[in-house]
Structures are given as C-alpha cells and as structure tokens.
C-alpha cells in the first residue's frame, strides 16, 4: 500500500485495533480506579459498595473488548486486572481506622476527581470507537459501544454526584 521508503502507517483496520486496545487498557484502569476508591473508602459505605458494583461494568467491558478484539487479530486478556487481595485488605483496614477523622474527606474528593477524569477518558475512547465503527459500518463494534458507553457515562455521573453530595460538608465543616 505505501512505498517502502515512506514511514509505515497503520491500516484503517489496525487503527481500529489500536482503539480497541486502548479501550481495553483504559477500562482496566477505570476498574482499578474504582476498586482502589472502594478499598480506600471502607468507612464510606455507599462508596465502598457502589464502586464495586460499577467496577463490574468495566470488567465486563474488558471481557467483551477482548472477545471482539479477536476479530481484529488482537490477543487481549479477557480477565480484568486485579490488585492483590492482601494489599486491598490492608487499605480497607487503614481506612476503617481513619474513619473517625474528617481529613480523609479531602482525600475522598481527590480520589473522586481522579475517578471522574479516568471515566471521562474512557468515555471519549468509546466515542472514538463508536464513530469509527459507524464510519466503517462495523455493526458488531457499534453495538458493543452502544451497550458499554452508557455505563461509562453512569460511572462518570456517579463520581460527579458523589462530589456534589460531599463537597460542602468536607470543605465547610471539616
């Protein structure tokens, strides 16, 4: 396709592959960010449980991206990455012990801000993938994006809502 002297440009097909790979990575990151937030916030029960519930969405996305990746000659790990259980338990214990102090609230706001940014990145990645799939008339890929992207938006709105709910108490009364 291109001359031997010109720099190699990825084919359109490969670019889709890259987009899938990138999403596979960023969804793994998002799941990690959610699980990390959960472990840090054992004393904030709603965050602890909801973060775990919605991390499953990202983990499911990882699995489905790996599956569809096979059609694009990608070998992606269908198993979402996981932190070691030991580290996670340690964090939970620490968070329970610091639950009596208000300063961790500032850490919570920082963690939620981070989560929102990661989710926003994933959301944009899905936009890119959906637009590409649409342009290339890749129905399967478009369906995947249509299934998964709304859940990313819900993860993002959740982070936003948590900030909105807790910010005043942390900033004013803390």
């Amino acid at each position: 396709m291109s001359g031997s002297s010109a720099p190699r440009r990825p084919s359109r097909g490969t670019r889709i592959g890259m987009a899938i790979e990138e999403l596979h990575r960023s969804e793994n990151d998002l799941a990690g960010a959610l699980l990390n937030l959960s472990d840090q916030q054992k004393a904030n029960h709603e965050i602890f449980y909801v973060a775990r519930d919605v991390a499953r969405w990202s983990q499911e996305h990882v699995r489905r991206l790996a599956e569809i990746g096979r059609d694009h000659d990608l070998e992606l790990d269908p198993e979402p990455e996981d932190e070691t259980a030991l580290l996670s338990r340690l964090k939970q214990k620490t968070s329970e012990l610091t639950g009596r102090f208000h300063e961790p609230g500032l850490l919570l706001l920082a963690d939620l801000r981070h989560l929102h940014r990661v989710a926003a990145g994933v959301s944009l990645d899905w936009e890119v993938l959906a637009q590409t799939a649409q342009a290339m008339r890749d129905v399967e890929l478009l369906e995947l994006a249509e299934d998964c992207h709304p859940q990313t938006l819900r993860q993002m709105r959740w982070a936003n809502a948590q900030v909105k709910e807790t910010a005043a108490q942390i900033m004013v009364t803390g």
């Binding site: 819900r154 959740w158 809502a161």
Partner: protein, 821 residues
Amino acid sequence: MGRTDRIAEPWGTRTPYGPGEEWPVRVDSFLADGLTPQDVDRWVQSATILHSNGDGLDIAVKDEQIVGVRGRAVDRVNHGRLGPKDLYGWQANSSPDRLTKPLIRRNGELVETDWETAMSAVANRTKELLAERGPSSIAFYTTGQLFLEEYYTLGLIAHGGIGTSHVDGNTRLCTATAAAALKESFASDGQPGSYTDIDHADVICLYGHNMAETQTVLWSRILDRLSGPNPPKVICVDPRQTPVADSATIHLAPRPGTNVMLMNALLHEILEQDWVDHDYIDAHAVGFDELEKMLKDYSTERAAEVCGVPAEQLREAARLIGTSERLMSTVLQGFYQSHQATAAAVQVNNIHIVRGMLGKPGCGVLQMNGQPTAQNTREAGADGDLAGFRNWSNDSHVKDLAKVWNIDPMDIPHYTAPTHAMQIMRYVEDGSVRFLYVSATNPAVSMPELARMRSILSQDRLFLVVQDIFLSETAQLADVVLPAATWGEKTGTFTNVDRTVHLSEKAVDPPGEARSDLDIFVDYARRLDLRDKDGEPLVKWTTPEQAFEGWKECSRGRPCDYTGITYDKLRGGSGIQWPCNDEHPDGTERIYVDGKFWSDPEYCESYGRDLVTGAPVSPTEYKALNPQGKAVLKAAEYLPPHELPSEDYPFQLITGRTLYHFHTRTKTGRAPQLQAAAPDVWVEASAVDAAEHGWQEGDVLRVTTPRGEVTARLRISGIREGSLFLPFHYGYWDTSGGDHPTDSGRAANELTLTDWDPASKQPIFKTAAAAATRVEASQGRAAPAPTTTASRPVDPASVPPTTGGDAALAEEQIQTEEVAR
C-alpha cells in the same frame, strides 16, 4: 356482641363480602378490666398509632385516665375494626417508667433537671456550634410517629431557620423506598391506590409484604373478600411461610436478595405473552423500549435458577397478573429492606403501567408505609425531602418555599439532596456533625450494625439530645433527655398510606412535666431566636391547629394539597384523603385517573436517580426523557447481593417484625397482653436446616456475622431453606445491660451490615451472611415465638398455642343490616 381473644385471633371474626360490595362494619373495642361503655366519661377521637394502617378509633377516658379504645364505624379505613396492638397498646401510656422530667448529663450520669436548664443547654450548644462550625455541624433525626404539625415545624426550624440539610426521619429505615419508587415511576410521592381497591380487585399481589402482621385490619379486609363470593386470587412473594402465604393462590419464596431478578422475570413473561396495554403505554408512559430491551435477558428459567423458585410458579404468577382485570399490588419491607430495594419496588409500578392498571377501582399500587405518620415525615420535609413535595433541584420550587416561609431562598440549603439518615450518622462518626437531636426514635436498636452505632452515639465530642417518652437505649446515651407527650396526650393530624388524613385529639394530660413535641420544638425555635426576613418569628404558631393552617399554605397547589381540610371537617366523621382543595372538597379517592400524572418537569417532586449508582438525574436529562409529564418505565438490571453466603457464614439472615410488637417495643413491650404473646427474641430456621444440624425446637442458637452475635431460641418454621429470621424488636431496655448487651446480644441489628440502597438510601436488613451453632439444648422449652403468625412451628404439636386468655377478651360488634336499620 361477642368477646374474642384477639391475641389468639388477631384478625377477629370474618364478615364476608363480594366484589364491589361495601365492607361490613364490625366495631372492635377493649376497655380496662371490669369497665363497661357506661362507665366511660368521654370518647375522644383519634386514629391508630402502632402501625401504618391509619384506623379511626375513639379513646375512652374515665377519671382523666385513658381506659380503652373503640374502632370508629364511620371511618373509611377500618369500618370499626382494630388490631391487637391498638386494642392493648394504649396501656403503655400510663406505664410507671414514663419520662416525667428533663434529664441532663452531669459527671457522666443523667440526672433530673428543670425545663429551663435542659432547653438552655440544648439551645446554647446549638448556638455555639453555629458560630464555631456552621449549620452543617447540626443534624436532626426524627421519626414516623410524631404528628404532621410537629414535622412541619421541625423541618422549618432545620431547613429554613438553622439552614442545615441534615434532617431525616427513621422513615429512612422503613418507607424511604416507597417514596423513592413512586418518585422514579411517577416523579412524585403519593400513592396511586386506595384501600377500597381491595373491594374490587380480582388479583391482589403482596410483594415482600406480610400484611397479616404489619396491617392486621387491612388484612382482615382481604380475608373477608377471600371468605366471600368471587374471591380474588392472592400472589405472595416472601421467603417465609407467612399468614399471607397460607392464603395465597401462588406463593413465591425467592432467595433473599434476588427480588429484581424475580420481578424482571415476571415482567419478561408479561411482555412475552403480550399482556400489555399498548394504547395506555403509547399515551401515558415513556421508557417502554428500554424496558423491553432490558427484560430480554430475564427468562423465567434464568430467574428460577437465581431465585430458587420453580419456573412454572413464576409463569403461573405472571399469567394471573397478566390476565387480571382489576390488579392490586402492595409492597413492603421484603422489598424495601432488601438488596436493590428501589429497583425491585419500581418493577411493581412497571407492571401496573404496562398493564394500564392505575386510577381505576381495584387497580391500585400501594407502596406501603411502615409507621403511622411516615407519610407526613415525607410531606412536611422532615426527612430527605423539601416540604410539600417540592423538588430540591428545581430552583423555582425552592423560591416558592422561601416565599411561604418569608425567608431568602439562599437560606434553604439545596445544593444537593437533603442528607439521609445513614449519611448523617456517617457525619457524626467523622466528627463533622457535633449536635444530633433525636426525636421519638431509637437508633441504638433500630439502625444496622449496633456496635458501630453505640460507638458513634456515645462519642464525647457529640452533643446528643433525645426527645422521647421512655428512657430508651438511645436516651441512655444522651446529654439531654426531653420528656415528651405521646398519642392521646396531644393534638395533631396524621396521614396513612392511602392518603387518609385523621385528627388525633388530646384525651388526657401528659404525665409529670412531659410536653408535646410541638411545644418543645417551638420553645427551641424561640430560644434560637429564629426570624424571617422581616424580623418576625420564623415559627409563627404555638398551637397544633395554627401549625396545621401554616402547613396548609405550604401544601397549596402541591400534590399533597391539604387546603380543603380543617380540624372541624375532620371531627365527627371519617378521615379524608388528600388532595383535598376547592376542586376536590371531599378529598380524592384515587389519583392518576385517566393517565394524568404529577410528573411534568416544572411541577414534579423529583427527577429520579440512577437505580444502581443513586446519582440524581439532572433536570436537563429528565426534561429530555419526559417532556410531557408521563409515567416513567424504569428498567433495572439485577446485581448479586453484596454479602453472599460463604463457608464460614453459610446462611442468609433476614430480620423483620412480628404482629404483636412495634419498632423497639417501647410501647408494645409495656402492654401485658402483647408482651406475653412475644416475650423475647427467637431465631427461625427451616425444618431441613434443623434436621441437617440436628437442632430441635427451643434449642439455644448463637447466630453470628462479622459484626456481632445474638443468642436466641430456635423456632423451626416455614422459612425458606438456607435462611434465618430474627425479629428486630428486642433491645436492652428491659435487660440488665440497659443500653447494650451484657454477654451475648439480643438485638438483631448486632448482626446487620451497614449498606443501603443507593437510590432510596434505605438500609439493607434482609441480606446478610450468617452462621449459627447450638450452644444449649432446649430441655423441653419452646422458643418464645408466636404460633399465630409467620413464626408458626412446622409441627404444631411441638409448641403450646399463643393465646391471651381472659385478659385479652375484646368486644366485637358486627353490624348486621337489621342493626343498621
């Protein structure tokens, strides 16, 4: 006239009737030993306060003492009937251990003091914190058992005067999901159904609702239909063999925590068979496509596997629902206090919307309440809502409320939803809330994870005020205890789940120096010198009737419109259903007639929340979704419960209620007939599990979870295999521990986990993993559990029946047509 032991026969004598007929009158009464109606000096009008049904009654007074009660034949709710808790519970009013003087903590001990000292301490600490740390360091935790006038006053003080958003009721524990589910489907609180739907329905579904024990009079109405001509079919969803299950055509007993799976499968089947009113949906609902898409994955076979319910039972239940002509549904704690509470309760609304069964006789949904005045906590904004079902995320509603209160809109915190109780406790835990004013509730027994709760409430840095009628477990932890008057000792109104407003008049004086909750709140407001923007007192009333008139203005034009009601109008006859205004001067039996809802974006109370994350739906999103104010079909995916059984904790623990007690037994534990019927905690397990472990009736079991332990005698009951049940009523006030366990625990909430539904913020009491071991053989003693209810033993011969004897004989007067003439 007959005399019946209403402990042994909680629902009394049957008065059968057929579809569309009037429910016959049966007047129930109970007077103190040896008294007859001729001995009574006067009868004072009121309604029932120890459950949520809202039955009209009259209080008998002799020599300025309450001496009994009698059901009101003219009342639309009960047609004269009363339940066991009403017949005997009033005796608690005159218990010798009522609080009669304020108490204050001095050198670590609560000692008697005068009102001036107590109220100054409360007001001064409030003012100090307001100056030092601002309004968000102040929180209020109230109840579902005060009167409308009191909630409205409290909400005004907190939201409008102090400016804190930390106000909630213990309604969070019992009916938050009822409100949340209605807000999701109809964008506003307010029950579509009426109790009279029972008179017309051909299929009645009770979802997680053991009505026979929680609303005995309403259940009598269903029993009377069942024993009359052309009875309705009953569908019961409950993991226990409740009296409702005994009467059901189909009993589905799902694995705890799988309600959304079950509901989705029922809806799946209804759509699959096209038992759907497409015209109704096209004209009056949004969201059908999303619902249809979501339900694709929820086959009855999949649900059968997950819920542990036979697929053919699910299909048969769906067929009955799908082919019914007048479908009535009720929902309660089995859904509200379980995993995915709102998501599950919303699916019940969805069934009614897709079947077009709303706003017509026999076609109601009742998202039930658990407490007598829970509806008012919600209406008046003494929970996580703004007064008058106003929408905190609609600026024009906040402005309107500020106008009613004559304050600046910025004085009403509305940057986010009012804080829910579980989050308030979290703020107390992290030290950002330093003042907690608890009225008429007992979180030290009723909240989940009691070891945590006790440690939160006993912190030195917390100033805890408890306003109650007895020295409850929570009051024992307080810095100041304020003795309150209760039902029969003060005047006010309250509203039941089918929107019926009753007046409850003062019959006698409160004991000692106890004062009405309204008086105390008004005194508190005066001491804080709360003012409106013209410098006038913010709280402009001192009497209940003035407060009611104030509330009417606040309710004007809102769904819960009270403007057509007066105290005088409530006197003498039946309770009246809101909305009651110029347009509907006699009240409104059914709302949502002809598919008209209160869900217009500019009018609605709520834009809803994400059912999984709880994130509020933004105004823009809602307007795009539902611009024309229709009903919203909201789909929900099933998520596995957060705590699943494991090798160490192989059982699923559910907590709940018994017919004879209310809340933490502060009153029912002091009524001899009720206390004797269910004197102590027990634990239920199935016959299969008992056989496997070699347990016998009455064996002492230790039940544990990662949070704590409870020791109780075993009742082998009809509960689902793999599940354990503990009643939550039993705390420590009548044990040597006082406010805490001495050795092993007795309160079920020692075991529950701190987790709540993200949409309704209602704690989950019915999905915890638990272990059980035998610590002592029964030695012939049975568990202290009633045999008349869901705790009935599988082997009836193994346990003596629950009876009340002569002390429980109550009058029943069935009004035959002859007598009526």
